[in-house]
């Protein structure tokens, strides 16, 4: 109220009122009272009221004249005191007004109405009922308290009857028209809702009744009342969470009070947000234990967050309003909505908003974040993600305000406030939630925007671990290592923490998946070292089960790594075995449920022992190793008949036992193969194992009879194996099918078996050739089978069908073999070469010159045709090498390979094409070319071969370096360079420990090299070792024995020493004879002679012939007689 207006009114009233001095003027005093009260000078305002009331009381003329104004002063006392928050005094002042009979005087009221009819038709009539409300209002305010003064809940009990009394008056229309127009019932109900909720004994039923009434009323409650009530209820709800639902009910009871337009909301926005956060916190904490309460709190949180205005929109509104108020310093009231405008207040609010915007403290952004998070807490990942997505898109630099230190003071750095920035949280949460909803692209994109360096404690740990988890789930093994190392770094102070352990385990697994075994081994050792896999208590500790899982898996990775590396370095099989022993000590249980890797480990250790045995020269040691392997295989077959390893374990057991001499053991092998077959066929992918087992059954079954089994029964059993093979175990890519076919072709005995073999061969050859062609690989068995087919087909056509096939017919058949793809150059080349081979063999058997000439011409024609069809330019490197190798093998079968110049030259053209083109198969091409050139009789070509062999001999690939050493040794031997041959052969034998024919061939060559270089002792040693360890293998024992005999005979050292003294040493020549004698006796007794091949027979015969020659020597006979005489004399003693 401004002075100007008062002066005007007073001027207007001057006509009706006597002139009074300013000091005594009751109208201007009223304005003065208001001014003093507004300035906080309550006592002065009260004093002035009292002064006026005193002055104009009584019966004087002035008192009578201004008596109608006195109720205003009396009521104003209550207003002054209420404004000053002196509620007890205000209550008493209102009560005094209510109880005063003076103010109820009708005549006085009528006079006041008459005097103020133009301005206030009802004069002070509203005060007569308003005072009841104000009494209740004072008690309510005492109950609610404020920021500085705690409320006294008991006051609500006093407020309620007064407010209800007033409400009753409103309902019965026993109030002034002014009050009716203001529609106060809703507001009074609103106050009653709060009073019933907040009083010491809350009455929720009554509160609910007034809530419903309040909703039906229109209008809004003034801001301070609304905010005070809300603040109180939030405070109570935070302390007693079961009341959290009342927050949203109070808001819903008077939505217009709380859903404010931007200017009003501006002042209260921070409170709405803070209240919302508190309610959200109640919801979050109680969701797990009391979901009903949590959901009520969540509704309240949503209601509160919905009241937060948009900071930018508010700022724009504030700017417009401040501009509209200009330099006006007063307060403008807008009575109907009950709003007031003050430039000073709005500037202050705007300053705080400007500050917030400067600090990126967008309140609505924070409201969005809490809305998303509360939904996430309930389980909606999408809503949680949406919250962070909107923040990333609209408020990427959001902060929740200035950070405070431990004393609660705002922090500063370089004069600027230190903000609680949420950027990293936003992007980290968004990235993780993107991954959780399957949006990996989004996850990776936002993860990159996280500034890992500025993440704090738990956040950086979370980020690192979630990144690792994501990479693991996507199986990006190369990326696992650095991600896991980052996690380890976060938890480096506690290596037995489960995150650290998981990271280390992930490293081991990633190395395994990438086949990086050198790196895997130390990583696995670190995992298993005892510091990481330690069970403990607490949420971040490993459980005993987790320790066992990681540990047993770690051992598996480790043993498998050693097994893979051992293929290059056989010494590592010992490491693999040592790993198993550690494992068995740590995890002794044989239960697959308890010890999930136990069967894998047993299989690996058995495999390690078997592989070691293969590379062990000493037979006794070899047997021991095999027995070890068998013991572990037995654990598998005894304990885990359903596991995937079972069929292979039976198969491997059978592979060892079937080679033993004991028939009962051999029979047990047959039984094992049968079990392997049954078990393998019961598995989804067991056909290859079953095919292997059935092939061995079909092969060995012919030799091994069951106890009491007749020949017919045995034949039927074997037929059963064959039938079962084709019916149940055959499949595309089955190399055993080729072997079965080869065997069928080799055992053709009549027209029927010939037809069956040819039919089966055509199906299998066509299928397997196509399969291998599509896989771009060579199958050695295919070559053998095609060779067998060609030979059998040509011979069989003649023998059983009476058909002598012409060259054209042969060419037509082999060129257009059913099932062979026209693009399969490899298979077609094999067929052509096989045809040439078969024709060469036929040539050998011809006697007629005409026939011989014709056959020679046919062979050459076929050969020319082949060179035209298979030009190196048209073939891949792989096929070129295959064709070249095929030609080299073809050449090697001739007694004088050096005469096959055309084939040798042709072979080198294929290899040269590969070498010229570079690319793959370079080592193989070099080896092949060296092999081809080595067959040539020409010195320069042989020199070239030597150069090539020497180059390849140092290749890291044993597949080429070993054959190169072999080829080089042969060259050195053939060129007379025995010393060089010793060197290369020794190198081969030292490195290539696998006991196979190549090694045995090299041992023979080593012996020869030693002998040719004059090192008789070493030669004898080499041959004797070879002989002693391979007696049953006539291909090698016979030549070795012969060589020993010849060396002894050649050396011819005389006998020395004295038989009687015990130092007698037999003569070399006697030893020569004796060695042969022992060998021949052994072989004859072994029944091997019936089973050996013609080549082996020749080798044995050579020994026997030499024996007979030495036997006839007089010196030998004499020495032998002396030995026998001495022995018989010894017996007589």
């Amino acid at each position: 109220m401004n002075n100007y207006s008062i002066a005007t009114v007073m001027a207007a009233l001057a006509l009706t009122a006597p002139m009074v001095s300013h000091a005594q003027d009751p109208l201007s005093s009223l304005g003065q009272v208001k001014k003093l009260s507004g300035a906080g000078r309550a006592d002065e305002a009260l004093a002035l009221c009292e002064q006026v009331l005193k002055r104009y009381s009584g019966n004087g003329a002035m008192a009578k004249q201004f008596a109608y104004l006195m109720p205003f002063y009396a009521y104003e006392k209550g207003e002054i005191l209420r404004t000053a928050k002196r509620y007890d005094e205000a209550y008493n002042a209102y009560k005094e007004f209510r109880d005063s009979a003076k103010w109820k005087d009708k005549a006085l009221l009528e006079k006041a109405k008459a005097m103020l009819k133009d301005r206030m038709p009802e004069a002070y009539a509203p005060y007569l009922t308003q005072c009841i409300f104000q009494m209740g209002h004072c008690r309510y305010l005492q109950g609610a308290g404020d920021a500085k003064t705690p409320g006294v809940a008991a006051k609500f009990d006093e407020a309620i009857p007064l407010l209800e009394e007033y409400l009753d008056l409103l309902k019965k229309n026993k109030v002034s028209r002014t009050e009716r127009q203001l529609k106060l019932d809703g507001r009074v109900c609103f106050l009653l809702v709060q009073s019933y909720l907040l009083k010491p004994q809350p009455d929720f039923k009554k509160a609910g009744q007034y809530l419903d009434l309040s909703r039906k009323s229109k209008g809004r409650v003034p801001d301070d009342l609304a905010m005070t009530g809300l603040g109180t209820i939030v405070k109570v709800a935070t302390q007693n969470p079961e009341n959290a639902g009342w927050i949203y009910k109070v808001i819903e009871s008077s939505p217009a009070s709380y859903r404010m337009e931007p200017l009003r909301a501006a002042t209260h926005a921070a409170k709405f947000l803070n209240h919302g956060v508190k309610a959200a916190s109640v919801a979050g904490k109680s969701m797990g234990t009391n979901p009903e309460m949590a959901l009520e709190a969540l509704r309240s949180a949503n209601a509160l967050l919905g009241l937060v205005p948009d900071v930018r929109e508010v700022s724009v509104n504030l700017v417009d309003n401040i501009k509209g108020l200009g330099k006006y310093t007063g307060v403008i009231s807008d009575p109907i909505p009950g709003t007031s405008y003050s430039a000073a207040r709005q500037k202050k609010t705007f300053a705080s908003y400007k500050n917030m915007l400067g600090n990126n403290q967008n309140l609505e952004g924070l409201a969005i974040m809490y809305t998303g998070n509360t939904a996430l807490n309930v389980g909606s990942t999408r809503l949680g993600k949406a919250g962070f997505q909107v923040l990333a898109d609209r408020y990427p630099n959001l902060s929740s305000g200035v950070k405070k230190d431990k004393d609660g003071k705002p922090m500063e750095k370089d004069g600027k406030p230190v903000l609680n920035e949420l950027r990293n949280t936003i992007f980290m949460q968004l990235s993780q939630l993107c991954y959780a909803t399957g949006d990996d692209e989004g996850g990776a994109k936002y993860e990159k925007r996280v500034d890992g360096a500025s993440l704090e404690g738990g956040q950086s740990k979370s980020l690192a671990f979630n990144k690792l988890r994501r990479i693991l789930s996507q199986q990006q093994w190369a990326e696992v290592i650095p991600a896991a190392e980052a996690v380890k770094n976060e938890y480096k102070d506690n290596p037995s923490n489960k995150f650290y352990a998981t990271a280390q385990y992930s490293i081991v697994a990633a190395y395994y998946k990438q086949q990086m075994y050198d790196e895997l081994i130390p990583a696995a050792r670190e995992l298993l070292g005892g510091k990481i896999l330690v069970a403990g208590e607490g949420k971040d500790a490993l459980t005993a089960k987790e320790v066992a899982t990681y540990g047993s898996q770690g051992y598996y990775f480790l043993i498998d790594a050693y097994m893979k590396k051992a293929r290059q370095d056989a010494k590592l099989y010992d490491e693999a075995i040592a790993v198993f022993e550690e494992f068995a000590k740590t995890f002794p249980s044989l239960s697959m449920e308890e010890n999930v890797m136990v069967h894998h480990m047993h299989y690996n250790v058995a495999d390690a022992y078997l592989k070691k045995a293969e590379r062990t020269v000493d037979e006794a040691a070899q047997e021991k190793l095999k027995e070890q392997a068998l013991s572990y295989l037995k654990v598998i077959t005894d304990n885990w008949p359903k596991c995937d390893y079972y069929p292979t374990a039976e198969l491997l057991t059978a592979s060892v036992n079937i080679m033993k001499d004991d028939m009962a053991v051999k029979q047990s092998a047959i039984a094992a193969l049968e079990r392997a077959t049954d078990a393998a066929l019961a598995m989804e992918d067991g056909k290859s194992t079953a095919a292997n087992a059935l092939y061995w059954l079909a092969s060995y079954g012919k030799e091994i009879k069951n106890e009491g089994e007749s020949d017919d029964a045995q034949a039927a059993r074997v037929k059963g194996y064959v039938d079962r093979f084709w019916k149940e175990a055959d499949y595309e890519g089955n190399s055993f099918a080729l072997q079965m076919v080869s065997e069928m072709l080799a055992t053709v005995k009549d027209k029927e078996s010939f037809a069956a073999a040819v039919e089966r061969a055509r199906t299998v050859i066509g299928r397997e050739a196509t399969y291998n062609h599509n896989q771009n690989q060579a199958e050695p068995e295919l070559e053998k089978t095609i060779n067998a087919y060609v030979k059998s087909y040509v011979a069989g056509s003649k023998t059983y069908d009476g058909k002598e096939l012409t060259l054209e017919e042969k060419t037509q058949h082999f060129t257009n073999f059913p099932g062979i793809q026209p693009t399969d150059k490899y298979a077609r080349a094999i067929f052509r070469m096989a045809q040439i081979r078969a024709m060469n063999e036929e040539l050998k058997g011809l006697e007629d010159e005409t026939a011989k000439n014709k056959m020679t011409n046919d062979i050459q024609a076929t050969f020319r045709e082949m060179t035209r069809e298979f030009r190196p330019d048209d073939l891949t490197n792989f096929i070129c090498v295959q064709v070249g190798d095929y030609l080299v093998r073809y050449v090697s079968e001739f007694p004088k390979p050096s005469e096959r110049k055309d084939e040798i030259n042709l072979a080198t053209t294929y290899y040269d094409k590969v070498l010229e083109r570079k690319g793959d198969m370079q080592g193989e091409a070099q080896l092949g070319k060296a092999n081809a050139l080595a067959f040539s009789g020409e010195a320069d070509k042989q020199k070239e071969a030597e150069v090539l062999y020497t180059q390849i001999a140092s290749s890291p690939s044993a597949a080429v370096s070993a054959p190169a050493l072999m080829g080089l040794t042969k060259l050195h031997l053939s060129s007379g360079n025995a010393a060089a041959a010793v060197e290369t052969a020794s190198k081969y034998v030292a490195v290539n420990r696998t006991k196979n024919n190549d090694r045995l061939d090299m041992l023979l060559m080593l012996g020869e090299a030693y002998a040719k270089s004059g090192k008789v002792k070493e030669a004898l040693q080499t041959y004797m070792n070879l002989y002693n360890q391979n007696k049953g293998n006539i291909s090698y024992s016979a030549p070795a024995c012969k060589a020993i005999m010849e060396l002894f005979w050649e050396r011819n050292a005389p006998a020395s020493g004295d038989r009687l003294k015990g130092n007698f040493k037999a003569s070399d020549r006697w030893n020569a004879w004796n060695t042969g004698q022992q060998y021949v006796t052994l072989i004859k007794r072994s029944n091997l002679l019936d089973k050996i091949t013609p080549a082996e027979r020749d080798a044995y015969n050579a020994v026997e012939n030499l024996l007979n020659k030495y036997k006839a020597d007089a010196g030998v006979q004499k020495e032998d007689k002396a030995n026998r005489d001495f022995q018989s004399q010894l017996k007589k003693r």
Partner: protein
């Protein structure tokens, strides 16, 4: 302002003396008072009407019908008082009684249209809120007309209001199943978005989602799952952008997101094999979209629309599992 500060009210009436030379006539209901400060004088004037942008007309004291025109620019302060019918209409709007609000706002707009052109005039305010109400009601047919008829030159409207008027028709078109491109263009327009409030951003998200959803003709398949995912995300962004303000669009958005999630590949297959309510193991093993659909249904049923009866929501909510009870307590 204190509740029923009748003394204040009385003071206002007492002080509501005529501005020097101005006639007062409080009887006509479509006439508004304005608090005016000009030079050293201040007080309330009864404004007859606007006389153009920022120009007002009043009848001076002593004159019957001789209007005097003045300019707001000549005044330090010109503040129109708010009529009760606008307060009531806005009360309906805030109490979510949208039908009543729309009717009353239309009435206010018409009644006080002679004040258009003056700052904070009720006709312009009513027009803004009428448009907002139409959007909240999803009355897409009416939105373009209302947006078009907004007095864009009026000093009452600020950048946020003007941007809203630009955005609303685009939102209406897309929300009715139209092309997504215009709304996508707006979502990418950083300059435009500076004057877009959080709620209006929520409108854009809603509209974009609707347009994307319209592309899923014949349902969600593996081929269009990416579009469905985008729509779900946009619906959810509508919900959070509103953060509790104006429940209508967020509620619809949540239901549509829930339905889309429920129709994502694999979700209903899992539901067929699952037994409601799920246990911890089944919940952990459920597809993410299944869990989200169930959680959203649960939120709709218990928090966002507990009074509404929706069979589909009820059915999906039965699968919900409260995983919060399994989380270890924070230290």
């Amino acid at each position: 302002m204190k509740l029923t500060n009748l003394i204040g009210f009385a003071a206002v009436l007492l002080c509501c003396a005529p501005f020097a030379g101005a006639q007062e006539d409080g009887a006509k209901q479509d006439k508004l008072r304005a608090f005016v400060v000009k030079g050293k004088s201040s007080g309330y004037l009864l404004i007859e009407n606007a006389g153009g942008k920022n120009k007002f007309q009043y009848i001076p004291r002593g004159s019957v019908d001789q209007k005097v025109e003045d300019d707001v620019k000549n005044c330090t302060v010109f503040k129109l008082m708010t009529p009760a019918d606008l307060v009531d209409a806005l009360g309906e709007f805030r109490a979510n009684d949208l039908d009543a609000a729309r009717k009353e706002l239309a009435g206010v707009r018409k009644k006080y249209d002679h004040y258009l052109g003056l700052p904070e005039n009720p006709a312009a305010i009513a027009a803004v809120y009428e448009l907002k109400t139409a959007v909240r009601q999803k009355d897409w047919a009416a939105v373009p007309g209302l947006a078009d008829s907004l007095p864009k030159d009026d000093p009452t409207l600020n950048d946020f209001d003007l941007t809203m008027a630009k955005v609303a028709p685009v939102v209406a078109a897309a929300a009715a199943g139209g092309d997504a491109a215009p709304v996508e263009a707006m979502l990418a327009d950083k300059e435009l978005l500076k004057s877009v409030s959080s709620e209006v951003y929520g409108w854009l998200c809603y509209a974009h989602a609707c347009a994307l959803e319209a592309k899923l003709k014949g349902g969600v398949t593996a081929e269009n799952a990416k579009t469905a995912n985008e729509a779900i995300d946009r619906f959810c962004q509508c919900v959070v952008s509103h953060h509790g303000v104006a429940p209508e669009l967020p509620l619809d958005a949540m239901k549509r997101a829930m339905n889309l999630l429920w129709n994502m590949p694999g979700v209903q297959d899992y539901a067929k094999s699952a037994k409601a309510p799920l246990d911890a193991k089944a919940w952990a093993g459920a597809p993410a979209n299944f869990r989200d659909a169930a959680a959203m249904a649960y939120l709709l049923k218990t928090v966002y629309a507990p009074e509404a009866k929706d069979e589909v929501v009820d059915k999906i909510a039965t699968y919900y599992y409260n995983a919060a009870k399994d989380r270890k307590k924070e230290d």
